[in-house]
């Protein structure tokens, strides 16, 4: 019935070839097949944003995308952003501004912000809040996340390192 298919996908710059069942969600492919557990899963219906990754450079819900669709695509997850010793500029702003507590929402917040910083001016807090409206955080009350994004947007203005 639902026979396996072999896909070739690049994840954080590394090429993978794996056999997958068509119904396997990209979120489960990343976490279970590849062991990349940085991508979190909250709701599995597109609402919480925890699973947000980049597909060919654009943010998308990994829980609303099948691994088979990733054949030939480039996926980026939070593991590709920075390392503990070498945080990306956006991750640094999150740390500086205390933009996380439990950290469950953080991977999705970061991947969303990478795309927001690329596509929108983020000139006002209202625009930043609109941009974050698809990512739920149960800890921070969002204020510190808004501050981190505000700082990242300003830093992006100074040099092109978003």
């Amino acid at each position: 019935m639902s026979k396996h298919r072999t896909i070739k996908a690049t994840v954080n710059g590394i090429a993978y070839e794996r056999s997958v069942e068509p119904r396997l969600l990209l979120s489960d492919f990343l976490r279970q097949t590849l062991g990349l557990t940085g991508t979190h899963v909250g709701c599995e219906h597109g609402v919480c944003g925890a699973c947000t990754v980049l597909i060919d450079g654009d943010s998308a819900r990994a829980c609303l995308y099948f691994a088979v669709q990733a054949d030939g695509r480039h996926i980026e997850t939070v593991e590709g952003l920075g390392t503990i010793d070498d945080l990306s500029p956006l991750q640094q702003e999150f740390r500086e501004h205390h933009a996380l507590q439990c950290g469950f929402c953080t991977p999705g917040m970061l991947m969303t912000c990478v795309d927001l910083l690329k596509k929108y001016p983020l000139a006002s807090d209202a625009e930043i809040r609109d941009g974050l409206s698809g990512n739920l955080c149960r800890c921070t009350g969002y204020e510190h996340i808004v501050r981190a994004v505000r700082a990242a947007a300003a830093r992006r203005g100074r040099k092109d390192d978003g």
Binding site: S2, R23, H45, I55, A60, L64, Y65, K119, S133, N135
Partner: protein, 291 residues
């Protein structure tokens, strides 16, 4: 919550997709952006035997100006509509509406064809298509077909589409000269589905309204045009009293529902308030554009 097993097809051309769908229409579903379909699969509210993924049909992803109007391929993503200079120039009401559709990560994937076929009664695109008298063009094994947007939506998540019909493009006919338009929505957070949304176009000549269009979403089981209100405006001189009366009529002529988010009365109130705003704004924009 994981989807039930299904067979997966990924055609490279529309012709191939039409044949694949014709052979298994009753048990297959088309997969476009997946932003409405995959939640239903994850919840197992739908368990199709096969998915036909149309994401590789690049022939369905286009925006082309045509006789002052626009042809929009069914696979055009929400974010492409949101940022298209052609859409902003020809149909600013559509650009305005797109800013209210979901969140960036959803707009990057969701498509116009999927939104129209899914037919959520609170969705922006079906409502704007209804406002703009869009033609919805389709293909099936029987050949091409065109539906008027005003007859396309039949109820919540229901359309006139046959099981084997693929939406290929949406045509928005040119707006008449000296037309202004506006869109307004009320939702609890940016990107949530509308509790109510209203959009209008107003056309004037020699100081009188020659035509007005008013469409609402979230106030009935499908997007609606308010014919009675439109008729009450045609031929009149624009002033605040006229708009007030039209807005009141708009609130009275919808038959909304009560749900967890809002009561029917509140929705009716919203329709009147938003109708006043969009009619006023649409008219103001003609004056600016033509001065």
């Amino acid at each position: 919550m994981k989807p039930a097993p299904f067979e997966y097809f990924c055609p490279d051309s529309l012709d191939e997709a039409v044949v694949l769908l014709a052979g298994r229409a009753a048990e297959a579903k088309l997969l476009a952006g997946g932003q409405s379909l995959v939640p239903l699969l994850n919840f197992r509210l739908l368990q199709p035997a096969a998915l036909i993924d149309i994401n590789r049909l690049s022939e369905l992803a286009f925006l082309a100006e045509d006789r002052g109007g626009l042809r929009i391929g069914a696979l055009t993503r929400h974010h492409a509509l949101e940022t298209s200079p052609a859409v902003a120039a020809l149909f600013p009401v559509l650009s305005e509406a797109m800013a209210h559709v979901a969140h960036l990560a959803v707009r990057n994937r969701g498509t116009i064809g999927g939104s129209l076929a899914h037919a959520d009664p609170a969705a922006e695109l079906p409502m704007v298509a209804t406002l703009l008298d869009a033609e919805i063009r389709t293909r099936s094994a029987a050949g091409p077909h065109t539906h008027d947007a005003r007859d396309f939506f039949t109820g919540p998540l229901s359309t006139v589409l046959a099981d084997d019909e693929i939406v290929t493009e949406v045509f928005l006919p040119a707006l008449p000269p000296r037309t202004g338009s506006a869109f307004a929505e009320f939702s609890l957070r940016r990107g949530d589905f509308a509790i109510a949304a209203v959009a209008a176009t107003v056309t004037v000549a020699d100081g009188r309204i020659t035509a007005a269009r008013l469409a609402v979403a979230g106030a009935d089981e499908r997007p609606l045009r308010l014919d009675e209100v439109e008729a009450s405006l045609a031929g009149q001189c624009f002033d605040a009293d006229l708009v007030e009366t039209a807005a009141r009529l708009a609130g009275e002529s919808v038959n909304p529902f009560t749900d967890l988010r809002a009561s029917a009365d509140y929705r009716r109130h919203l329709v009147a308030v938003l109708a006043r705003r969009v009619l006023t704004e649409a008219h103001a924009r003609i004056a600016v554009g033509a001065a």
